[in-house]
Symmetry: C2
Subunit: 426 residues, 2 copies
């Protein structure tokens, strides 16, 4: 078979990694793909010192790659929304397959891009956009295709997991660990996308679409970050037998699709609770297979390139399926967060006097909320406030919000109640 010619746009961390994986592993890759895969052209403004491009055509105009008639597959690794969208649509219009690692692009502009690709008869690969090196898109779309998928729950942002792991292991504060993560290059200078859950929401949007056959709808994903988690919360959770993870969770319920990213208490003996540091993990529950878990590095040059190149090899092997796994999407309603049911961890500061706990318990009880566990600490030296920590059974969020409002109105409770959702994932 004739070689497949690739044009790489963007030669940063992932672009450079892709260049090097295609070059260094070309023997194995050609044996697997059944044909040579050649880097025909690279579009980049800046050279990458990790890449030897001396035998490669390099242009500083990425759109020249989209116009190059020699190129079969355009690899979009420039990131961002607008230029990336324009570049990808231009490549598709010119009959090229596209491979991208850009989850923001797919989560927000995926519908438009896939429609254009369908019209042009080309493939769009985006495995690298979710969970880096873990082939979880392929696992859900193909490996678990026999299943009615019931739930997807994932640690899909390595920065957030690194921060929570450090807070737990070393009893450190959020801000302190975030600064270290930035120094180590795990977190961006503006960490909003990572710590506020936007990046995870992009990825969860994509996973949910391929799991349930629903349209991409980033705008309907409830998103809450980890910046308000304290080391006390992390510690109390452990005392209760749980670990706080920043999870993307989506589930099929009788009333709609549950779609949310937030800090979550998970039982310590659940495998996903054991995934530490910058590792990612995605747990998929299907009605035939039951629980599966896919773990691996969620970012970095090598792992992300591994996924980019896997998509290129799929195209070279002429594997082409619907980008969102289903040949028709069903527009199932996404639940507003107020309708979602979970357990809750509540932490509040109470005056250290008799009857406070009983009053709080009765507010919960009057709202039909069952308490699963309580921790009441001694007041710290010289303090008149004591922390009260409670775990509740499952209840609708709007019911919990009402109860919390009542607790916050009660004079013997100081300040606001911290609420973290609990999932048993069983």
């Amino acid at each position: 078979m004739k070689p497949v010619k690739v044009g790489i746009c963007g030669l940063g961390t992932v672009g450079g990694g892709t260049f090097n994986v295609l070059t260094e592993n070309n023997h194995d890759i050609a044996r697997r793909a059944g044909r040579e895969i050649i880097i025909e052209q690279v579009g980049t403004r800046r050279p990458n010192p990790a890449c030897d491009t001396s035998n490669t055509q390099v242009t500083d105009d990425i759109f020249a790659v989209a116009e190059n008639p020699e190129i079969d597959i355009l690899v979009e690794l420039i990131g961002g929304y607008d230029v990336a969208r324009e570049l990808v649509l231009k490549a598709i219009e010119n009959g090229k397959h596209v491979v991208t690692a850009n989850k923001a692009l797919i989560a927000v502009h995926g519908a438009e891009i896939f429609a254009a690709a369908k019209k042009a008869g080309v493939t769009v690969g985006y495995e690298a956009g979710v969970a880096g090196g873990i082939p979880v898109i392929k696992a859900i779309r193909e490996g678990l295709a026999a299943n009615h998928i019931e739930r997807v729950a994932g640690i899909i942002n390595g920065t957030g997991n690194f921060i929570l792991t450090e807070m737990r292991d070393k009893g450190r504060d959020f801000d302190d660990v975030l600064q270290e993560a930035q120094a180590l290059g795990y977190a961006e200078a503006d960490p909003t996308f990572d710590v506020e859950g936007i990046d995870a929401a992009h990825k969860l949007t994509i996973l949910s679409s391929i799991a349930y056959g629903i349209p991409l709808q980033f705008e309907n994903c409830f998103t809450e970050g980890i910046s308000k988690i304290t080391r006390d919360d992390v510690q109390y959770a452990e005392e209760l037998g749980y670990r706080i993870k920043h999870l993307g969770i989506s589930a099929r319920t009788s009333t709609g699709i549950d779609l949310r990213v937030h800090p979550t208490l998970v039982p310590l003996d659940n495998m996903i609770a054991k995934v530490d540091g910058v590792m990612n993990a995605v747990a998929v529950k299907g009605n035939a297979v039951n629980d599966t878990l896919f773990c691996g590095p969620g970012a970095g040059a090598g792992p992300t390139a591994s996924a980019v190149v896997a998509d290129i090899i799929d195209i070279a092997r002429e594997i082409s399926i619907e980008p969102l796994a289903f040949n028709s999407l069903e527009d199932v309603r996404v639940l507003p967060i107020e309708e979602v049911e979970t357990g809750y961890y509540l932490r509040m500061q109470a005056l250290d006097k008799a009857g406070v706990m009983a009053r709080v318990a009765s507010i919960l009880s009057n709202n039909g909320i069952n308490i699963e566990a309580i921790i009441q600490k001694e007041p710290a030296e010289g303090e008149i406030l004591v922390p009260i920590i409670m775990l509740t059974h499952k209840v609708q969020e709007k019911v919990m919000n009402q109860a919390i409002a009542e607790i916050e109105d009660y004079g013997d409770i100081n300040g606001s109640v911290t609420k973290i959702r609990v999932e048993h994932l069983n």
Copy 2:
């Protein structure tokens, strides 16, 4: 597109599960496959009370399914070697695709079957043969196709993992737990295939072939079971910071392919050490992605059917790649176990007197073997023998065997030395 017609041969646990998954999930499956998948015929001697076959053609002659001109895909779920081989070859000869869950068949007769399929231009799917519901064949063959695979290490026999988990959690003996596993249906009446590692060796043979592009060679896989592991070994391993798992391990080394199944001490903080009970897990290390781990149920009607039906959907989607992932296999030498390098856990019974430990240490040292840790226990009440436990650094097995022979010759050591291999998997 016109429907795909399937014939299922064998309606036992997995056959029944496949029948039910295809029936119950047919809406999602058709949306994913882009066409209907119809069970055209079932070949079985016995009905399965879990399956409603009232609207399905049933024959007691499985070869009639292979001859049925309506059928596109024959699903072989009868198990065993000879009849299964004949059935599969007949189906291929008649131009049918084949899907099987039979690892023994693929590990032993795979080369012949794949050659016949290539000649006939049909596909053979066998995802269900390895690690049940975990789509690990697809992960290695496609999802990690960009990588030069360096190592595969897996818990690929749920029965063995259940036994080791129970021995650890409850301090029980091997024989005791095996009996329970048989009562629970996790282990066969003749448990040899499971506990002696033959089943795991079949699966590892398959995984290694698709990981490295080498021929299937079950006969070259070193196999050691778990029947000699004592609860003391399990306990001492924990004290040393390790857990005993029955692993299939294969690796690419500079002198050949390492291919072996045996009980293995794994560090407690390695994710694979945390996989308990009947769960399976496969860790794959690639030069681009680094470490990935795939976990899930390794057996049972639903999980195995999930994998069988995924293969059927791949065929319906017209996804067809080389069954062993590479279009040409390389006949790399497999290392004899004597040439393999690992760390070792040694346990021996010594006379409780001065100088014994020093003598053992000097035998190891004279053979160039470094000791990493030692536990010496007090003798039990009324005993004159004390257990000595040692962990060594990595050394070639033939060197270790020589040192063990010298230790066993030493008069103050009673009986034989227990040797369990140690892998850090880093």
